[in-house]
């Protein structure tokens, strides 16, 4: 397993800067509007301060009305300005999100399949769901909130500063402790919350497994076992949640206690300034209200800091996909011939021993070649080399004289197709599931492909080719799904097919049905069948026996049986002959 890369800080910073550059105008507009809205919001405490001064000076009630009206006007202005600012910001967030996710999918689709397999699809699946969503949430909610809060906080400080420079400084009286505890918290929080999330999904997985395997629980009498296992998961969840609670138990009270400091400092300093006659009582009242107003933005920033941090971590993982070199475009043009030749091929998986030790094999166009041998002999590896998914460490696999790995991947796939146990029905209509194999295929082509593989269930579909499949819509059973996969092959029409135990994962009944549908696909093509059932070998033109990474026997079934080697012995025992 070789993990997929994660982008470093520099790459993340560059990509954020790039995004900001592309959206420069809407960003500046949003910023200006937010500042204007925040200024309108700050007018209220200042006006209250003015009222206090007037009242202290002995103003009449009617005198107050003008100021009250001005406050209402400011609030209305704030509503309109912040609405527009939010809207500009939201639009920017949506665009940024769309771009990020589209880039991610486009890059994922360009990944060389060998890289994906080596890393496992689990990591990629997490990035496509959890990480893209986390980044999306950050861009949509966290960034705007933090941005607004920072603007508001700065302006509160500026406003208090205008009342009196020293009062402005005092708004930040709580900052040192808040910053210190935030640093402490942020260093520990991500891991703790990650552990909490993992524990929660592990518990759900454990309980779901117990439910899915209920018959097995009964058959193997695993009740106590499953209860013990589930109880351990519940305990683990409790434990991780206590850990995050412990972090909050320090973070929250320190931050909250800090909220009293600015107001206290303001009153204390205000008292002194007042006695010295530097400021009016109204200014002190206004500054105290500003101090109270600074609580909310700080609170918001604190709440979202952790999410912002997670957003950055996810962004690094999303961008990491872009660091993998995309699948190379081919260097050679399409070969004229169809002859697959393997010469002196050796191969090892990263860092391991050779699993193939010098294979020589020639596949004649149009022939059926069965490859048999015990598990671990290197059959599947050979199949991957033949299909050009992996390149040999030594030697060459060529098609019509051109090394298969030099071919353009799209060109190669049109000529050689690899069919494995894995089949996948994409979410979408049946047509979507077939059409991508052969762009330009008509409905008629698709129907005949389905008929050719014996997909008789097609007649029962409510909407024919437009029937929605997968994810909550109609689910196909494994055999039907495999038939869809085979119909794709009929449409793609490669001249060479490599079957790697295409039916081994199916139960025997289903396997039999699927094998029947294979006939239509194999007709008129070169077929290399990796097989674990000997009847496949019996029916092939030639049989290659692979053992320990070498071809030990090669010839027609009858020749090999007559040759009385390992294959012959196996055939006889399988066949039930006691001879």
């Amino acid at each position: 397993m070789k993990a997929l890369p994660v982008a470093d800080r520099g790459t993340v910073r560059r990509s954020v800067a790039e995004l900001a550059r592309a959206e420069k105008r809407s960003l500046i507009l949003a910023l200006v509007l937010h500042v204007a809205a925040a200024i309108a919001g700050l007018a209220s405490p200042w006006l209250v301060g003015r009222i206090v001064d007037r009242v202290t000076a002995g103003a009449a009630a009617a005198d107050v009305d003008t100021f009250a009206l001005a406050i209402a006007g400011c609030v209305l202005a704030q509503i309109l300005l912040s609405r527009t600012a939010q809207n500009v910001g939201n639009r920017f967030g949506e665009r940024a999100n769309a771009r990020l996710r589209e880039d991610f999918v486009a890059r994922t689709l360009r990944l060389p399949i060998a890289v994906v397999e080596r890393a496992g699809t689990g990591d990629l699946a997490t990035r496509s769901s959890v990480d893209v969503a986390t980044v999306g949430n950050a861009v949509r909610q966290v960034v705007p909130t933090v941005l607004i809060s920072v603007i508001r906080l700065l302006l509160v400080v500026v406003a208090a500063f205008l009342l009196h420079p020293l009062l402005g400084m005092l708004i930040l009286a709580g900052a040192p402790t808040t910053l210190a505890v935030a640093r402490w918290y942020l260093r520990r929080a991500p891991q703790a919350y990650l552990a909490e999330g993992e524990a929660a999904s592990e518990l759900t997985e454990s309980l779901t497994a117990t439910a899915e395997g209920a018959r097995t629980v009964e058959a193997l009498r695993l009740t106590e076992e499953r209860i013990r296992e589930g109880t351990a998961r519940v305990a683990r969840q409790w434990q991780t949640r206590r850990a995050t609670l412990a972090l909050r138990s320090v973070f929250f009270p320190v931050v909250e206690a800090g909220y009293a400091l600015p107001a206290a400092a303001m009153l204390l300093a205000g008292g002194y300034f007042l006695s010295e006659g530097w400021v009016t009582l109204g200014a002190v009242v206004a500054a105290t209200l500003y101090a109270q107003q600074s609580i909310e933005p700080v609170d918001h920033i604190m709440i979202f800091l952790e999410q912002a941090q997670r957003g950055v971590a996810s962004l690094a993982r999303v961008l990491g996909i872009g660091l993998v070199a995309p699948e190379p475009r081919g260097v050679a043009s399409a070969p004229p011939g169809q002859r697959l030749v393997v010469r002196g091929v050796r191969f090892c998986y990263a860092g391991g021993h050779d699993v193939l030790h010098g294979i020589d094999l020639e596949v004649r166009p149009g022939e059926r070649l069965a490859v048999v041998g015990p598990s671990g002999a290197g059959k599947s590896t050979l199949a991957r080399l033949l299909a050009g998914i992996d390149a040999p460490r030594e030697g060459v696999v060529s098609l019509g004289g051109v090394p298969v790995t030099d071919l353009d991947p799209a060109e190669r796939r049109r000529r050689i197709a690899l069919v494995t146990q894995e089949h996948h029905v994409f979410i979408g209509t049946l047509r979507d599931n077939l059409a991508f194999a052969a762009p330009g295929a008509t409905d008629g082509d698709m129907l005949s492909a389905l008929v050719a593989v014996g997909a008789d269930w097609y007649a029962e579909l409510p909407d024919g080719l437009d029937t929605e499949l997968g994810d909550g819509a109609r689910a196909l059973n494994p055999a039907d799904a495999q038939q869809v996969a085979l119909a794709r092959l009929v449409l793609a029409d490669p001249h060479t097919l490599i079957l790697d135990e295409a039916t081994a994962a199916l139960d025997p009944t289903t396997a039999r049905r699927t094998e029947r549908s294979l006939g239509a696909v194999l007709h008129g093509r070169t077929v290399i069948a990796i097989a674990h059932r000997l009847y496949t070998a019996h029916d092939a033109d030639r049989v290659a026996v692979l053992a320990d990474g070498r071809v030990t026997e090669l010839g027609s079934h009858d020749d090999l049986v007559r040759g009385d080697g390992a294959y012959a012995a196996l055939w006889r025992s399988w066949h039930g002959d006691k001879a």
Binding site: V48, V52, D65, A68, A72, V75, L76, Q78, R83, R95, N97, L109, R110, L111, I113, V116, A133, L207, T208, T210, A211, A214, R215, E218, A219, R221, T223, I227, T231, V234, W238, R241, R242, L245, F252, E256, A257, A260, L261, A264, L267, L268, G271, V285, Q292, S375, A410, R413, A417, Q421, H424, F436, A504, A505, R516, H532, D539, S573, H575, G576
Partner: protein, 560 residues
């Protein structure tokens, strides 16, 4: 409701503490505006430094106390919720672990995932009402008294105004949630499309069509972008109004109280305090509003939990089982499974063989007799303990290979090694990082089809039941391995009853006796080689080169 009540009752001291601390915290929130008012009036305005210092000191102390109360409230409520979550999880766990084969028939697995993942925690969140919910009401009452002492008219205005504002803004937020739900739903679909592409990458690599999928995803993403614009437009109004409407209300209060201050009815400090109270009073009202939503959601969740808990196992008989191993007889097919032997069952229709296995182990109602006793009358626990059907649906739970294999506790390492050897699974132990201590994922998803089958076989052998019914135990392994397993299986089960349902000649050849099933009935019985000679139908089924039956003809045609 009864369920939620039970969750509260089972930890009532904690719930009570939550209420007390929650109330104290909310009242504490109202203290700061009052203290600031005192500091302004007694300290600043009067020019009394001592008084100012006292009140400022009080503000700081109050800040610390409120922070302490706040975290105590949060801790108590978290413990309350976590206790409820753990309790609910345990109840569900114990229930589903006991239900057995009934469960998948009554409740879809996705439902269980929702109950465990979402409903359990939503039911717990409803308990939040018990702490701050009660506190909110009391805090509101306290604030009323304080405000009343300032000025009754002003108090009425504030006390009635705050709930009105919250009731106006609350539905706005709800509407936002509604719009957002549609967007999130679409976003969810888009996410599953991305996941779908990731899951199908190998198919796309094998057949092509990547560009098409990239374009299709981008088109959907762009249409979501348009929807996002629309949601954003509504959202920005809601966001601005949720802030703006309370601000307007506050402006009205300032205006009223300022006029009063100007007329000398209240002091300047009191005017500032009223401003503060109005801002802080919204906290308990919000709590009540949110608490209401949580309780409703919690009730729905509790109902779904109850629905799972109501599923009951089939009422079973409690009769005795035969002492010691005994023959099994199935009147429907006419098959008798003799004690201590290994018999093969080759069925023309695989479904008939699987139905036979289900009857023998009484997964369905059956006429089968066991040592002369009707199996329908035997205690199901006894049957499960002694008769095991090893089929393809058998679930592999995640864990180390050793844990997966050891379903009984008294399994020795030697027995483990013997079963692994019989199932020809030594290479799995070798190739798995960590060997026997290597991890197996749920459903054995990190194993190949053949490996899964051999792990299951070893697991079922280690369960050592009196009667082991193996359904196609080697269908996914290569012929070399199958030959080895066939050789070893008979020896491993010597002296114990084993039924092998298969059509593989390698396996059938190593059994003591083979029953050939046609139309669900035993059509012939004898040793494998005898049946090959005497039964053309049997020969056609198991030996592939003889007279070609329908399915074989197709298969051979497939490769010719």
């Amino acid at each position: 409701m009864r369920y939620l009540w039970w969750l509260v009752r089972s930890q009532w001291p904690r719930a009570l503490r939550g209420s007390v601390v929650g109330t104290a915290w909310m009242i504490g929130l109202a203290v700061r505006p009052w203290l600031i008012a005192r500091a302004i009036d007694d300290g600043l305005r009067a020019g009394d430094t001592r008084a100012l210092l006292t009140w400022v000191g009080a503000i700081i102390v109050a800040g610390v106390v409120v922070a302490w109360l706040g975290i105590m409230r949060h801790r108590t409520m978290t413990f309350l919720r976590e206790d409820a979550t753990a309790r609910s999880s345990q109840v569900v766990l114990h229930h589903i672990a006991r239900l057995g084969a009934v469960l998948p028939r009554r409740v879809p697995a996705g439902e269980i995932a929702t109950v465990c993942g979402t409903d359990v925690s939503q039911a717990s969140w409803a308990l939040t009402m018990t702490g701050p919910g009660v506190g909110a009401v009391l805090a509101y009452a306290t604030a009323s008294v304080v405000l009343w002492s300032v000025d009754p008219m002003l108090a009425l205005f504030v006390l009635l105004g705050v709930p009105v504002v919250v009731l106006v803004v609350g539905p706005l937020l709800n509407r936002l949630q509604g719009v957002d739900t549609g967007y999130r739903h679409e976003l969810g679909i888009l996410t599953s499309r991305a996941g779908d592409i990731v899951a199908g990458l190998r198919v796309l690599a094998g057949v092509g069509g990547r560009d098409l999928f990239a374009r299709r995803y981008a088109a959907r993403s762009q249409s979501l972008l348009q929807q996002g614009y629309r949601v954003g437009s509504i959202m920005s109004w809601v966001q601005a109004l949720t802030v703006g409407i309370p601000a307007l209300f506050l402006a009205a209060i300032v205006w009223l109280s300022a006029r009063m201050a100007a007329e000398g009815q209240i002091t300047v400090g009191e005017m500032v305090a009223v401003y503060g109270y109005a801002a802080i009073l919204s906290v308990p009202v919000w709590f009540l509003l949110e608490g209401g939503f949580m309780t409703v959601r919690g009730l729905v969740a509790a109902r779904r939990i109850i629905a799972v808990l109501r599923v009951q196992p089939d009422a079973g008989a409690a009769g005795p089982a035969p002492h010691g191993p005994a023959d099994l007889h199935d009147p429907q097919s006419g098959l008798t499974v003799p004690v201590g032997r290994m018999i093969g069952v080759a069925a023309e229709d695989p479904a008939a063989a699987i139905a036979l296995a289900d009857r023998l182990a009484r997964y369905v109602s059956s006429e089968v007799s066991w040592g002369g006793l009707p199996i329908a009358g035997v205690d199901p626990a006894e049957i499960r303990a002694r008769i095991l059907v090893a089929d393809h649906d058998s679930y592999l739970f995640p864990g180390t290979l050793r844990e997966v294999l050891r379903t009984r506790h008294d399994v020795t390492d030697a027995q483990l090694a013997a079963a692994v050897h019989t199932a020809s699974a030594d290479d799995i132990v070798e190739s798995l990082p960590g060997g026997l201590d290597g991890q197996i994922e749920a459903r054995g998803s990190n194993l190949s089809g053949g490996q899964r089958q051999r792990v299951r076989l070893a697991q079922h052998l280690l369960a050592e039941p009196d009667v082991l019914i193996l359904v196609d135990p080697t269908s996914a392994v290569d012929s070399h391995t199958e030959a080895r397993i066939a050789d070893r299986l008979h020896e491993h089960r010597t002296g114990r009853t084993t039924v092998v349902i298969a059509t593989s000649p390698l396996l059938l050849d190593r059994t003591d006796l083979v029953a050939f099933l046609r139309d669900g009935q035993v059509a012939a019985a004898g040793r494998h080689d005898e049946l090959l000679e005497t039964e053309p139908g049997y020969r056609a089924l198991v030996a592939r080169d003889a007279a070609e039956p329908e399915s074989d003809a197709a298969r051979v045609g497939a490769l010719r």
